[in-house]
Protein backbone atom coordinates (compact mmCIF):
# COMPACT_ATOMS: atom_id res chain seq x y z
CA UNK A 1 0.00 0.00 0.00
CA UNK A 2 2.86 2.37 0.82
CA UNK A 3 4.31 1.80 -2.67
CA UNK A 4 0.95 2.56 -4.30
CA UNK A 5 0.41 5.61 -2.07
CA UNK A 6 3.89 6.91 -2.92
CA UNK A 7 3.23 6.40 -6.65
CA UNK A 8 -0.13 8.16 -6.27
CA UNK A 9 1.63 11.13 -4.64
CA UNK A 10 4.18 11.20 -7.46
CA UNK A 11 1.31 11.41 -9.95
CA UNK A 12 0.13 14.61 -8.25
CA UNK A 13 3.61 15.95 -7.64
CA UNK A 14 3.05 19.66 -8.33
CA UNK A 15 0.17 20.27 -5.88
CA UNK A 16 1.87 17.93 -3.41
CA UNK A 17 5.11 19.92 -3.58
CA UNK A 18 3.21 23.18 -3.08
CA UNK A 19 1.43 21.80 -0.02
CA UNK A 20 4.72 20.39 1.25
CA UNK A 21 6.45 23.77 0.83
CA UNK A 22 3.68 25.51 2.78
CA UNK A 23 3.79 22.89 5.51
CA UNK A 24 7.59 22.75 5.71
CA UNK A 25 7.97 26.53 5.81
CA UNK A 26 5.33 27.05 8.46
CA UNK A 27 6.68 24.27 10.69
CA UNK A 28 10.25 25.46 10.25
CA UNK A 29 9.28 29.05 11.06
CA UNK A 30 7.43 27.96 14.18
CA UNK A 31 10.43 26.03 15.48
CA UNK A 32 13.07 28.47 14.28
CA UNK A 33 11.40 31.44 15.97
CA UNK A 34 11.22 29.49 19.22
CA UNK A 35 14.79 28.26 19.21
CA UNK A 36 16.29 31.50 17.93
CA UNK A 37 14.43 33.39 20.62
CA UNK A 38 15.54 30.97 23.35
CA UNK A 39 19.12 30.96 22.13
CA UNK A 40 19.14 34.76 21.80
CA UNK A 41 17.87 35.17 25.34
CA UNK A 42 20.49 32.74 26.59
CA UNK A 43 23.20 34.46 24.57
CA UNK A 44 22.22 37.95 25.76
CA UNK A 45 21.80 36.87 29.36
CA UNK A 46 25.23 35.24 29.38
CA UNK A 47 26.97 38.19 27.76
CA UNK A 48 27.54 40.17 30.91
CA UNK A 49 28.24 38.53 34.23
CA UNK A 50 29.85 39.78 37.37
CA UNK A 51 28.36 43.25 36.92
CA UNK A 52 25.70 44.18 39.45
CA UNK A 53 24.70 47.55 38.07
CA UNK A 54 25.26 49.59 34.95
CA UNK A 55 25.47 53.28 35.71
CA UNK A 56 24.53 55.73 32.98
CA UNK A 57 22.67 58.93 32.23
CA UNK A 58 19.00 58.96 33.20
CA UNK A 59 16.80 57.42 30.53
CA UNK A 60 15.75 54.02 29.31
CA UNK A 61 17.45 51.18 31.19
CA UNK A 62 17.04 48.86 28.23
CA UNK A 63 18.67 51.38 25.92
CA UNK A 64 21.58 51.79 28.35
CA UNK A 65 22.17 48.03 28.46
CA UNK A 66 21.85 47.70 24.69
CA UNK A 67 24.44 50.33 23.85
CA UNK A 68 26.89 49.59 26.66
CA UNK A 69 26.85 45.79 26.65
CA UNK A 70 25.67 44.89 23.16
CA UNK A 71 26.95 47.89 21.21
CA UNK A 72 23.47 48.37 19.74
CA UNK A 73 22.43 51.99 19.28
CA UNK A 74 24.28 55.10 20.29
CA UNK A 75 24.64 56.75 23.69
CA UNK A 76 22.73 60.00 23.84
CA UNK A 77 24.25 61.47 26.96
CA UNK A 78 27.26 61.19 29.24
CA UNK A 79 27.81 61.24 32.95
CA UNK A 80 30.63 63.06 34.69
CA UNK A 81 33.59 61.23 36.14
CA UNK A 82 33.08 63.35 39.25
CA UNK A 83 29.71 61.68 39.80
CA UNK A 84 31.23 58.27 39.18
CA UNK A 85 34.02 58.96 41.69
CA UNK A 86 31.45 60.09 44.25
CA UNK A 87 29.31 56.98 43.77
CA UNK A 88 32.36 54.74 43.74
CA UNK A 89 33.38 56.12 47.13
CA UNK A 90 30.14 54.89 48.72
CA UNK A 91 30.66 51.94 51.07
CA UNK A 92 28.29 49.62 49.20
CA UNK A 93 30.32 49.91 45.96
CA UNK A 94 33.21 47.47 45.73
CA UNK A 95 34.48 48.46 42.32
CA UNK A 96 33.57 50.69 39.37
CA UNK A 97 34.73 50.41 35.77
CA UNK A 98 34.13 53.49 33.64
CA UNK A 99 33.55 53.08 29.90
CA UNK A 100 33.47 55.67 27.16
CA UNK A 101 32.06 54.85 23.73
CA UNK A 102 31.88 56.70 20.47
CA UNK A 103 34.72 55.68 18.17
CA UNK A 104 35.20 52.63 16.03
CA UNK A 105 37.72 50.78 13.91
CA UNK A 106 36.63 49.24 10.60
CA UNK A 107 33.13 48.60 11.91
CA UNK A 108 34.20 47.36 15.36
CA UNK A 109 33.32 49.48 18.35
CA UNK A 110 36.06 51.01 20.47
CA UNK A 111 35.54 50.85 24.23
CA UNK A 112 37.73 53.00 26.37
CA UNK A 113 37.98 51.75 29.90
CA UNK A 114 40.45 50.85 32.60
CA UNK A 115 42.51 47.66 32.93
CA UNK A 116 40.18 46.61 35.77
CA UNK A 117 37.71 45.71 32.98
CA UNK A 118 39.64 42.49 32.29
CA UNK A 119 39.60 41.52 35.98
CA UNK A 120 35.94 42.06 36.79
CA UNK A 121 33.91 41.56 33.63
CA UNK A 122 32.77 37.97 33.16
CA UNK A 123 30.63 36.07 30.67
CA UNK A 124 28.64 32.82 30.44
CA UNK A 125 27.89 32.83 34.18
CA UNK A 126 31.25 33.03 35.91
CA UNK A 127 33.97 32.82 33.28
CA UNK A 128 36.62 35.50 33.35
CA UNK A 129 38.14 37.12 30.29
CA UNK A 130 41.40 35.51 29.34
CA UNK A 131 44.10 36.43 26.87
CA UNK A 132 44.86 34.29 23.85
CA UNK A 133 48.00 36.39 23.33
CA UNK A 134 49.64 39.42 24.94
CA UNK A 135 48.40 41.34 27.97
CA UNK A 136 46.01 44.12 29.01
CA UNK A 137 46.81 47.67 27.95
CA UNK A 138 49.18 49.71 30.09
CA UNK A 139 50.75 52.31 27.79
CA UNK A 140 48.75 55.12 26.17
CA UNK A 141 48.97 53.51 22.74
CA UNK A 142 48.14 49.96 23.86
CA UNK A 143 44.98 48.34 22.58
CA UNK A 144 43.33 44.99 23.40
CA UNK A 145 41.18 43.37 20.75
CA UNK A 146 38.46 40.73 20.84
CA UNK A 147 38.96 37.38 19.11
CA UNK A 148 36.56 38.17 16.23
CA UNK A 149 38.40 41.42 15.51
CA UNK A 150 41.72 39.57 15.39
CA UNK A 151 40.25 36.87 13.13
CA UNK A 152 38.44 39.15 10.72
CA UNK A 153 41.12 41.81 10.40
CA UNK A 154 43.96 39.33 10.73
CA UNK A 155 45.57 41.28 13.57
CA UNK A 156 48.15 39.94 15.97
CA UNK A 157 50.02 41.38 18.94
CA UNK A 158 52.04 44.34 17.67
CA UNK A 159 49.65 45.24 14.82
CA UNK A 160 49.00 48.98 14.42
CA UNK A 161 45.49 50.39 14.56
CA UNK A 162 44.10 53.81 13.71
CA UNK A 163 40.77 54.61 15.33
CA UNK A 164 37.94 56.25 13.37
CA UNK A 165 36.09 59.15 14.96
CA UNK A 166 32.48 58.14 15.54
CA UNK A 167 30.84 54.81 14.85
CA UNK A 168 30.37 55.30 11.11
CA UNK A 169 32.81 53.48 8.86
CA UNK A 170 33.38 56.63 6.82
CA UNK A 171 34.20 58.85 9.80
CA UNK A 172 37.41 60.84 10.08
CA UNK A 173 40.35 58.69 11.10
CA UNK A 174 42.48 59.66 14.10
CA UNK A 175 45.49 59.15 11.87
CA UNK A 176 47.84 61.21 13.98
CA UNK A 177 48.08 58.55 16.67
CA UNK A 178 48.56 54.82 16.13
CA UNK A 179 47.57 52.26 18.70
CA UNK A 180 49.44 49.01 18.93
CA UNK A 181 47.77 45.66 19.78
CA UNK A 182 49.02 44.59 23.21
CA UNK A 183 46.67 41.68 23.74
CA UNK A 184 44.07 39.47 22.08
CA UNK A 185 41.22 38.03 24.14
CA UNK A 186 40.07 34.44 23.91
CA UNK A 187 36.68 33.92 22.24
CA UNK A 188 33.67 34.38 24.52
CA UNK A 189 30.68 34.22 22.15
CA UNK A 190 29.67 37.66 23.44
CA UNK A 191 29.99 41.22 22.11
CA UNK A 192 33.42 41.33 23.74
CA UNK A 193 34.74 39.33 20.79
CA UNK A 194 33.89 42.25 18.51
CA UNK A 195 35.23 45.02 20.68
CA UNK A 196 38.46 47.01 20.75
CA UNK A 197 39.60 48.19 24.17
CA UNK A 198 41.77 51.23 24.80
CA UNK A 199 42.61 53.06 28.01
CA UNK A 200 40.55 56.08 28.99
CA UNK A 201 43.70 58.18 28.76
CA UNK A 202 44.58 56.93 25.27
CA UNK A 203 41.03 57.61 24.15
CA UNK A 204 41.14 61.10 25.65
CA UNK A 205 44.49 61.73 24.00
CA UNK A 206 43.25 61.11 20.45
CA UNK A 207 40.43 63.56 21.10
CA UNK A 208 42.70 66.36 22.24
CA UNK A 209 42.25 69.28 19.93
CA UNK A 210 38.90 68.00 18.64
CA UNK A 211 35.90 70.31 18.79
CA UNK A 212 32.48 69.62 17.33
CA UNK A 213 33.66 66.52 15.49
CA UNK A 214 36.60 68.11 13.72
CA UNK A 215 40.27 68.23 14.56
CA UNK A 216 41.84 71.60 15.24
CA UNK A 217 45.29 70.45 16.41
CA UNK A 218 47.20 67.38 15.23
CA UNK A 219 49.00 65.17 17.76
CA UNK A 220 51.84 64.99 15.27
CA UNK A 221 52.81 68.48 16.36
CA UNK A 222 52.77 67.57 20.05
CA UNK A 223 55.14 65.69 22.30
CA UNK A 224 52.66 63.28 23.83
CA UNK A 225 55.00 62.34 26.67
CA UNK A 226 54.90 65.91 27.89
CA UNK A 227 51.12 65.88 28.41
CA UNK A 228 50.37 65.46 32.14
CA UNK A 229 48.52 62.21 32.95
CA UNK A 230 45.77 63.99 34.92
CA UNK A 231 45.09 66.15 31.85
CA UNK A 232 44.19 62.93 30.01
CA UNK A 233 41.67 61.65 32.53
CA UNK A 234 38.22 62.28 30.95
CA UNK A 235 35.71 64.61 32.55
CA UNK A 236 32.79 62.64 31.16
CA UNK A 237 32.20 58.99 30.37
CA UNK A 238 29.36 57.07 28.70
CA UNK A 239 28.61 54.66 31.54
CA UNK A 240 30.18 52.56 34.25
CA UNK A 241 29.90 48.98 35.44
CA UNK A 242 29.52 48.69 39.19
CA UNK A 243 30.22 45.78 41.52
CA UNK A 244 28.59 45.80 44.95
CA UNK A 245 30.07 44.65 48.20
CA UNK A 246 26.84 42.78 48.96
CA UNK A 247 24.35 41.54 46.39
CA UNK A 248 21.61 41.65 49.00
CA UNK A 249 21.52 45.43 48.67
CA UNK A 250 21.15 45.38 44.89
CA UNK A 251 17.68 46.91 44.59
CA UNK A 252 18.25 49.30 47.49
CA UNK A 253 21.50 50.59 45.98
CA UNK A 254 19.92 50.89 42.55
CA UNK A 255 17.11 52.99 44.02
CA UNK A 256 19.48 55.21 46.02
CA UNK A 257 21.68 55.88 42.94
CA UNK A 258 18.61 56.69 40.88
CA UNK A 259 17.82 59.37 43.43
CA UNK A 260 21.31 60.89 43.20
CA UNK A 261 20.73 64.61 43.51
CA UNK A 262 23.84 66.14 41.89
CA UNK A 263 23.34 64.60 38.44
CA UNK A 264 20.48 62.71 36.76
CA UNK A 265 21.85 59.17 36.61
CA UNK A 266 20.39 55.73 36.32
CA UNK A 267 21.66 52.48 37.88
CA UNK A 268 20.26 49.56 35.94
CA UNK A 269 20.31 45.91 36.98
CA UNK A 270 21.27 44.14 33.71
CA UNK A 271 19.08 41.09 34.35
CA UNK A 272 16.04 43.24 35.10
CA UNK A 273 16.54 45.37 31.98
CA UNK A 274 16.88 42.28 29.80
CA UNK A 275 13.79 40.74 31.41
CA UNK A 276 11.91 43.94 30.52
CA UNK A 277 13.20 43.67 26.97
CA UNK A 278 12.04 40.03 26.62
CA UNK A 279 8.71 40.93 28.12
CA UNK A 280 8.27 43.70 25.52
CA UNK A 281 9.25 41.35 22.73
CA UNK A 282 7.06 38.61 24.23
CA UNK A 283 3.81 40.09 22.94
CA UNK A 284 5.25 40.35 19.44
CA UNK A 285 6.33 36.76 19.79
CA UNK A 286 2.80 35.65 20.74
CA UNK A 287 1.33 37.38 17.67
CA UNK A 288 4.00 35.80 15.49
CA UNK A 289 3.32 32.40 17.02
CA UNK A 290 -0.44 32.72 16.44
CA UNK A 291 0.20 33.60 12.80
CA UNK A 292 2.50 30.61 12.51
CA UNK A 293 -0.07 28.20 13.85
CA UNK A 294 -2.63 29.75 11.50
CA UNK A 295 -0.30 29.14 8.55
CA UNK A 296 0.15 25.54 9.70
CA UNK A 297 -3.64 25.13 9.96
CA UNK A 298 -4.08 26.62 6.48
CA UNK A 299 -1.38 24.31 5.10
CA UNK A 300 -3.13 21.30 6.63
CA UNK A 301 -6.44 22.46 5.21
CA UNK A 302 -4.66 22.81 1.86
CA UNK A 303 -3.44 19.24 2.14
CA UNK A 304 -6.93 17.92 2.94
CA UNK A 305 -8.44 20.05 0.16
CA UNK A 306 -5.93 18.63 -2.29
CA UNK A 307 -6.95 15.11 -1.27
CA UNK A 308 -10.68 15.94 -1.39
CA UNK A 309 -10.54 17.56 -4.82
CA UNK A 310 -8.57 14.59 -6.10
CA UNK A 311 -11.13 12.05 -4.90
CA UNK A 312 -13.50 12.44 -7.84
CA UNK A 313 -10.76 11.97 -10.38
CA UNK A 314 -9.54 8.98 -8.41
CA UNK A 315 -12.87 7.13 -8.33
CA UNK A 316 -11.71 4.78 -11.09
CA UNK A 317 -8.47 4.06 -9.25
CA UNK A 318 -10.43 3.24 -6.08
CA UNK A 319 -12.84 1.03 -8.10
CA UNK A 320 -9.94 -0.94 -9.58
CA UNK A 321 -8.42 -1.48 -6.15
CA UNK A 322 -11.81 -2.55 -4.78
CA UNK A 323 -12.17 -5.06 -7.62
CA UNK A 324 -8.79 -6.48 -6.75
CA UNK A 325 -9.97 -7.18 -3.21
CA UNK A 326 -9.07 -3.96 -1.39
CA UNK A 327 -11.38 -3.42 1.55
CA UNK A 328 -12.90 0.03 2.16
CA UNK A 329 -10.52 0.22 5.12
CA UNK A 330 -7.58 -0.46 2.75
CA UNK A 331 -8.63 2.47 0.56
CA UNK A 332 -9.15 4.79 3.54
CA UNK A 333 -5.76 3.78 4.91
CA UNK A 334 -4.19 4.58 1.55
CA UNK A 335 -5.44 8.16 1.90
CA UNK A 336 -3.99 8.28 5.43
CA UNK A 337 -0.68 6.81 4.25
CA UNK A 338 -0.48 9.52 1.57
CA UNK A 339 -1.05 12.19 4.21
CA UNK A 340 1.53 10.59 6.47
CA UNK A 341 4.10 10.49 3.64
CA UNK A 342 3.49 14.16 2.79
CA UNK A 343 3.53 15.38 6.37
CA UNK A 344 6.50 13.27 7.52
CA UNK A 345 8.49 14.40 4.48
CA UNK A 346 7.53 17.97 5.37
CA UNK A 347 8.71 17.35 8.96
CA UNK A 348 12.10 16.07 7.76
CA UNK A 349 12.47 19.04 5.43
CA UNK A 350 11.40 21.36 8.25
CA UNK A 351 14.12 19.94 10.52
CA UNK A 352 16.70 20.72 7.85
CA UNK A 353 15.25 24.17 7.24
CA UNK A 354 15.21 24.94 10.97
CA UNK A 355 18.88 24.05 11.11
CA UNK A 356 19.53 26.33 8.15
CA UNK A 357 17.47 29.20 9.61
CA UNK A 358 19.17 28.83 13.00
CA UNK A 359 22.54 28.84 11.31
CA UNK A 360 21.61 31.99 9.39
CA UNK A 361 20.24 33.63 12.52
CA UNK A 362 23.33 32.65 14.50
CA UNK A 363 25.52 34.25 11.88
CA UNK A 364 23.36 37.39 11.84
CA UNK A 365 23.26 37.66 15.63
CA UNK A 366 26.97 37.12 15.86
CA UNK A 367 27.61 40.01 13.46
CA UNK A 368 24.83 42.26 14.72
CA UNK A 369 25.14 41.88 18.48
CA UNK A 370 28.21 39.70 18.94
CA UNK A 371 26.07 37.08 20.62
CA UNK A 372 26.87 33.49 19.76
CA UNK A 373 23.99 31.01 19.86
CA UNK A 374 24.31 27.25 20.04
CA UNK A 375 23.46 25.25 16.93
CA UNK A 376 21.67 22.05 17.78
CA UNK A 377 19.60 19.52 15.90
CA UNK A 378 16.01 18.89 16.87
CA UNK A 379 15.20 18.35 20.54
CA UNK A 380 12.45 16.25 22.09
CA UNK A 381 10.04 19.12 22.68
CA UNK A 382 10.41 20.32 19.08
CA UNK A 383 9.91 16.79 17.82
CA UNK A 384 6.73 16.54 19.91
CA UNK A 385 5.45 19.75 18.30
CA UNK A 386 6.15 18.36 14.83
CA UNK A 387 4.51 15.04 15.67
CA UNK A 388 1.46 16.94 16.94
CA UNK A 389 1.25 18.63 13.55
CA UNK A 390 1.57 15.27 11.75
CA UNK A 391 -1.15 13.88 14.01
CA UNK A 392 -3.36 16.90 13.29
CA UNK A 393 -2.78 16.30 9.56
CA UNK A 394 -3.77 12.64 9.92
CA UNK A 395 -6.87 13.60 11.90
CA UNK A 396 -7.82 16.14 9.23
CA UNK A 397 -7.28 13.48 6.56
CA UNK A 398 -9.83 11.28 8.26
CA UNK A 399 -12.43 13.40 6.42
CA UNK A 400 -11.38 12.29 2.91
CA UNK A 401 -10.51 8.83 4.25
CA UNK A 402 -14.03 8.37 5.65
CA UNK A 403 -15.46 9.72 2.38
CA UNK A 404 -13.46 7.16 0.42
CA UNK A 405 -14.61 4.44 2.80
CA UNK A 406 -18.29 5.38 2.40
CA UNK A 407 -18.09 5.84 -1.34
CA UNK A 408 -16.47 2.48 -1.88
CA UNK A 409 -19.17 0.84 0.24
CA UNK A 410 -22.00 2.64 -1.52
CA UNK A 411 -20.75 2.30 -5.07
CA UNK A 412 -20.20 -0.85 -6.97
CA UNK A 413 -17.95 -1.18 -9.97
CA UNK A 414 -20.17 1.06 -12.07
CA UNK A 415 -20.03 4.81 -11.63
Amino acid sequence: MIRIAAASIRSRIVPTILVMIALTTSMALLLAVDRIQDATKRGFNQSLSGVDLVLGPRGSGIELILYTVFHLGKPTNNITTETLEDIESKPFIEWAIPIALGDSHRGFRVISTTAKYFDHIQFGGDQSLTFEAGRPFSALNDVVIGSAVADELDYSVGSSIFVTHGSEALGKVHDDFAFKVSGILNPTGTPTDQAIFVSLEGYELIHLGWTNGSQAVSLKNLDVSQIPKERLYPKTITAAYLGLSSKLNLFKVSRSINEYAEEPVNAVIPGVALAELWSMLGSIDIVFRIFNWLIIAISLIGMVTMTLTGLDSRTREMTILRALGATPANLASMVLIETAIVSITAVLLAIGLVRLLTWGAADFLSHWAGVRIDLTWINFSELSTLMTIVLAGLCASLIPAVMVYRRSLARGFSH
Binding site: A7, I320, L409, G412, F413
Partner: protein, 219 residues
Amino acid sequence: MILKTSALAHTFKSGRHIQFPDFEVNAGEKIAVVGASGSGKSTLLNLITGVLPLQTGSIQLTEFTYHRLGARDLDTVRADHIGVIFQSLNLIPYLTALENAQLGLQFSTRRRSRVSDAQRVISELAIQLGLSADLLGQKPSELSIGQQQRVAAIRALIGKPELIIADEPTSALDPHATQLFMDQLSSSIDPETQAVIVVSHNPSIIPLFDRVISIGDDQ
Protein backbone atom coordinates in the same frame (compact mmCIF):
# COMPACT_ATOMS: atom_id res chain seq x y z
CA MET B 1 -18.57 -26.20 -10.05
CA ILE B 2 -17.10 -22.74 -9.80
CA LEU B 3 -20.18 -20.51 -9.50
CA LYS B 4 -23.81 -21.18 -8.79
CA THR B 5 -26.58 -18.60 -8.38
CA SER B 6 -30.06 -19.32 -7.20
CA ALA B 7 -33.17 -17.08 -6.96
CA LEU B 8 -30.92 -14.04 -7.16
CA ALA B 9 -32.71 -10.67 -7.07
CA HIS B 10 -31.88 -7.11 -6.16
CA THR B 11 -34.14 -4.20 -5.23
CA PHE B 12 -32.75 -0.65 -5.47
CA LYS B 13 -33.67 2.20 -3.12
CA SER B 14 -35.74 3.63 -5.96
CA GLY B 15 -37.91 0.51 -5.79
CA ARG B 16 -36.65 -0.94 -9.06
CA HIS B 17 -36.43 -4.71 -8.81
CA ILE B 18 -34.27 -7.04 -10.87
CA GLN B 19 -34.67 -10.79 -10.91
CA PHE B 20 -31.71 -12.77 -12.25
CA PRO B 21 -31.89 -16.21 -13.85
CA ASP B 22 -30.32 -19.13 -11.98
CA PHE B 23 -27.14 -20.36 -13.54
CA GLU B 24 -24.09 -22.45 -12.88
CA VAL B 25 -20.57 -22.02 -14.24
CA ASN B 26 -18.13 -24.92 -14.40
CA ALA B 27 -14.37 -25.04 -14.86
CA GLY B 28 -13.25 -24.44 -18.43
CA GLU B 29 -16.50 -22.73 -19.42
CA LYS B 30 -16.80 -19.39 -21.19
CA ILE B 31 -20.12 -17.77 -20.39
CA ALA B 32 -21.58 -14.63 -21.93
CA VAL B 33 -24.02 -12.57 -19.93
CA VAL B 34 -25.94 -10.39 -22.32
CA GLY B 35 -28.63 -7.79 -21.93
CA ALA B 36 -29.53 -4.30 -22.96
CA SER B 37 -28.12 -1.23 -21.23
CA GLY B 38 -29.70 -0.87 -17.80
CA SER B 39 -30.81 -4.50 -17.71
CA GLY B 40 -28.83 -5.17 -14.56
CA LYS B 41 -25.63 -6.66 -15.96
CA SER B 42 -23.43 -4.47 -13.75
CA THR B 43 -25.61 -5.24 -10.74
CA LEU B 44 -25.13 -8.96 -11.36
CA LEU B 45 -21.38 -8.37 -11.61
CA ASN B 46 -21.41 -6.41 -8.34
CA LEU B 47 -23.35 -9.20 -6.62
CA ILE B 48 -21.04 -11.96 -7.90
CA THR B 49 -17.95 -10.05 -6.86
CA GLY B 50 -19.50 -9.39 -3.43
CA VAL B 51 -19.31 -5.61 -3.72
CA LEU B 52 -23.08 -5.28 -3.42
CA PRO B 53 -24.66 -7.00 -0.41
CA LEU B 54 -26.82 -9.99 -1.18
CA GLN B 55 -30.54 -9.29 -0.59
CA THR B 56 -32.37 -12.27 -1.97
CA GLY B 57 -31.23 -15.64 -3.27
CA SER B 58 -27.85 -17.24 -2.99
CA ILE B 59 -24.46 -17.22 -4.62
CA GLN B 60 -21.91 -19.94 -4.19
CA LEU B 61 -18.37 -19.42 -5.44
CA THR B 62 -16.34 -22.62 -5.14
CA GLU B 63 -16.81 -23.59 -1.48
CA PHE B 64 -18.01 -20.17 -0.32
CA THR B 65 -21.68 -19.35 0.19
CA TYR B 66 -22.07 -15.57 0.15
CA HIS B 67 -24.90 -15.10 2.63
CA ARG B 68 -22.77 -16.73 5.29
CA LEU B 69 -19.92 -14.31 4.76
CA GLY B 70 -19.33 -10.84 6.17
CA ALA B 71 -18.21 -7.87 4.05
CA ARG B 72 -14.56 -8.40 4.93
CA ASP B 73 -14.70 -12.10 4.03
CA LEU B 74 -16.34 -11.21 0.73
CA ASP B 75 -13.44 -8.84 -0.02
CA THR B 76 -11.04 -11.70 0.70
CA VAL B 77 -13.02 -14.12 -1.49
CA ARG B 78 -12.96 -11.55 -4.32
CA ALA B 79 -9.20 -11.02 -3.94
CA ASP B 80 -8.49 -14.77 -3.82
CA HIS B 81 -10.94 -16.23 -6.33
CA ILE B 82 -12.04 -13.55 -8.82
CA GLY B 83 -10.14 -11.62 -11.47
CA VAL B 84 -11.94 -8.59 -12.92
CA ILE B 85 -11.43 -6.89 -16.28
CA PHE B 86 -13.31 -3.65 -16.89
CA GLN B 87 -14.65 -2.12 -20.05
CA SER B 88 -11.97 0.60 -20.29
CA LEU B 89 -9.77 2.74 -18.01
CA ASN B 90 -8.69 -0.55 -16.54
CA LEU B 91 -5.34 0.54 -15.26
CA ILE B 92 -4.08 2.88 -12.59
CA PRO B 93 -2.51 5.68 -14.62
CA TYR B 94 0.49 6.41 -12.39
CA LEU B 95 1.71 2.80 -12.24
CA THR B 96 3.57 1.01 -15.05
CA ALA B 97 1.96 -1.90 -16.90
CA LEU B 98 4.08 -4.30 -14.81
CA GLU B 99 3.04 -2.64 -11.53
CA ASN B 100 -0.60 -2.68 -12.64
CA ALA B 101 -0.33 -6.39 -13.42
CA GLN B 102 1.30 -7.07 -10.04
CA LEU B 103 -1.69 -5.46 -8.31
CA GLY B 104 -3.52 -8.74 -8.97
CA LEU B 105 -1.47 -10.23 -6.14
CA GLN B 106 -1.57 -7.22 -3.82
CA PHE B 107 -4.58 -8.16 -1.71
CA SER B 108 -4.49 -11.96 -1.95
CA THR B 109 -2.14 -14.14 0.05
CA ARG B 110 -3.54 -17.18 -1.76
CA ARG B 111 -2.75 -15.84 -5.23
CA ARG B 112 0.65 -14.58 -4.07
CA SER B 113 1.54 -18.02 -2.76
CA ARG B 114 0.89 -19.49 -6.21
CA VAL B 115 3.36 -17.15 -7.91
CA SER B 116 7.00 -17.51 -6.95
CA ASP B 117 8.35 -15.10 -9.56
CA ALA B 118 5.71 -12.51 -10.42
CA GLN B 119 7.74 -10.82 -13.11
CA ARG B 120 8.36 -14.08 -14.98
CA VAL B 121 4.69 -15.14 -14.75
CA ILE B 122 3.58 -11.71 -15.98
CA SER B 123 5.99 -11.93 -18.92
CA GLU B 124 4.65 -15.39 -19.80
CA LEU B 125 1.04 -14.21 -19.61
CA ALA B 126 1.94 -11.17 -21.71
CA ILE B 127 3.31 -13.45 -24.43
CA GLN B 128 0.19 -15.66 -24.31
CA LEU B 129 -2.00 -12.57 -24.64
CA GLY B 130 0.05 -11.20 -27.51
CA LEU B 131 1.61 -8.32 -25.58
CA SER B 132 5.28 -7.56 -26.01
CA ALA B 133 7.09 -7.88 -22.67
CA ASP B 134 8.98 -4.70 -23.57
CA LEU B 135 5.78 -2.75 -23.03
CA LEU B 136 5.52 -3.77 -19.37
CA GLY B 137 7.67 -0.86 -18.29
CA GLN B 138 5.34 1.66 -19.96
CA LYS B 139 2.70 3.78 -18.30
CA PRO B 140 -0.94 3.12 -19.43
CA SER B 141 -1.03 6.45 -21.30
CA GLU B 142 1.72 5.10 -23.57
CA LEU B 143 -0.26 1.95 -24.46
CA SER B 144 -3.11 1.43 -26.94
CA ILE B 145 -6.57 0.44 -25.64
CA GLY B 146 -5.97 -3.14 -26.80
CA GLN B 147 -2.63 -3.26 -24.98
CA GLN B 148 -4.23 -1.82 -21.84
CA GLN B 149 -6.93 -4.53 -21.99
CA ARG B 150 -4.23 -7.17 -22.17
CA VAL B 151 -2.45 -5.76 -19.11
CA ALA B 152 -5.80 -5.83 -17.28
CA ALA B 153 -6.23 -9.45 -18.38
CA ILE B 154 -2.78 -10.33 -17.00
CA ARG B 155 -3.76 -8.69 -13.69
CA ALA B 156 -6.99 -10.73 -13.62
CA LEU B 157 -5.26 -13.99 -14.53
CA ILE B 158 -2.16 -13.84 -12.33
CA GLY B 159 -2.32 -16.24 -9.39
CA LYS B 160 -5.03 -18.28 -11.16
CA PRO B 161 -8.27 -17.09 -9.55
CA GLU B 162 -11.14 -19.52 -10.31
CA LEU B 163 -13.42 -16.97 -11.93
CA ILE B 164 -12.48 -14.30 -14.47
CA ILE B 165 -15.18 -11.67 -14.89
CA ALA B 166 -14.89 -9.24 -17.75
CA ASP B 167 -17.29 -6.30 -18.00
CA GLU B 168 -17.66 -5.25 -21.66
CA PRO B 169 -13.94 -5.94 -22.25
CA THR B 170 -14.15 -5.55 -26.00
CA SER B 171 -16.44 -2.55 -26.34
CA ALA B 172 -13.52 -0.33 -27.37
CA LEU B 173 -12.10 -2.92 -29.79
CA ASP B 174 -12.96 -3.59 -33.46
CA PRO B 175 -14.46 -7.01 -34.37
CA HIS B 176 -11.11 -8.50 -35.41
CA ALA B 177 -9.38 -7.30 -32.24
CA THR B 178 -12.35 -8.56 -30.19
CA GLN B 179 -12.05 -12.05 -31.71
CA LEU B 180 -8.29 -12.04 -31.11
CA PHE B 181 -8.57 -10.82 -27.50
CA MET B 182 -11.24 -13.37 -26.61
CA ASP B 183 -9.21 -16.19 -28.20
CA GLN B 184 -6.10 -15.16 -26.31
CA LEU B 185 -8.02 -14.81 -23.03
CA SER B 186 -9.59 -18.25 -23.49
CA SER B 187 -6.27 -19.88 -24.20
CA SER B 188 -4.71 -18.26 -21.14
CA ILE B 189 -7.06 -19.84 -18.62
CA ASP B 190 -6.61 -23.25 -17.07
CA PRO B 191 -9.66 -25.29 -18.22
CA GLU B 192 -9.32 -27.54 -15.17
CA THR B 193 -9.65 -24.80 -12.58
CA GLN B 194 -10.82 -21.55 -14.18
CA ALA B 195 -13.88 -20.16 -15.95
CA VAL B 196 -14.71 -16.90 -17.71
CA ILE B 197 -17.84 -14.78 -17.52
CA VAL B 198 -18.03 -11.92 -19.99
CA VAL B 199 -20.73 -9.30 -19.54
CA SER B 200 -21.73 -7.58 -22.77
CA HIS B 201 -24.58 -5.78 -24.46
CA ASN B 202 -23.18 -6.79 -27.86
CA PRO B 203 -24.97 -9.92 -29.20
CA SER B 204 -22.36 -10.33 -31.96
CA ILE B 205 -19.87 -11.82 -29.49
CA ILE B 206 -22.25 -14.68 -28.57
CA PRO B 207 -20.66 -17.20 -31.01
CA LEU B 208 -17.38 -16.89 -29.11
CA PHE B 209 -18.86 -18.44 -25.93
CA ASP B 210 -19.93 -21.86 -24.71
CA ARG B 211 -23.15 -20.62 -23.17
CA VAL B 212 -25.20 -17.41 -22.96
CA ILE B 213 -27.17 -16.10 -20.03
CA SER B 214 -29.61 -13.43 -20.98
CA ILE B 215 -30.83 -11.03 -18.31
CA GLY B 216 -33.41 -8.28 -18.18
CA ASP B 217 -36.14 -10.19 -20.01
CA ASP B 218 -38.58 -10.20 -17.14
CA GLN B 219 -38.06 -6.73 -15.66
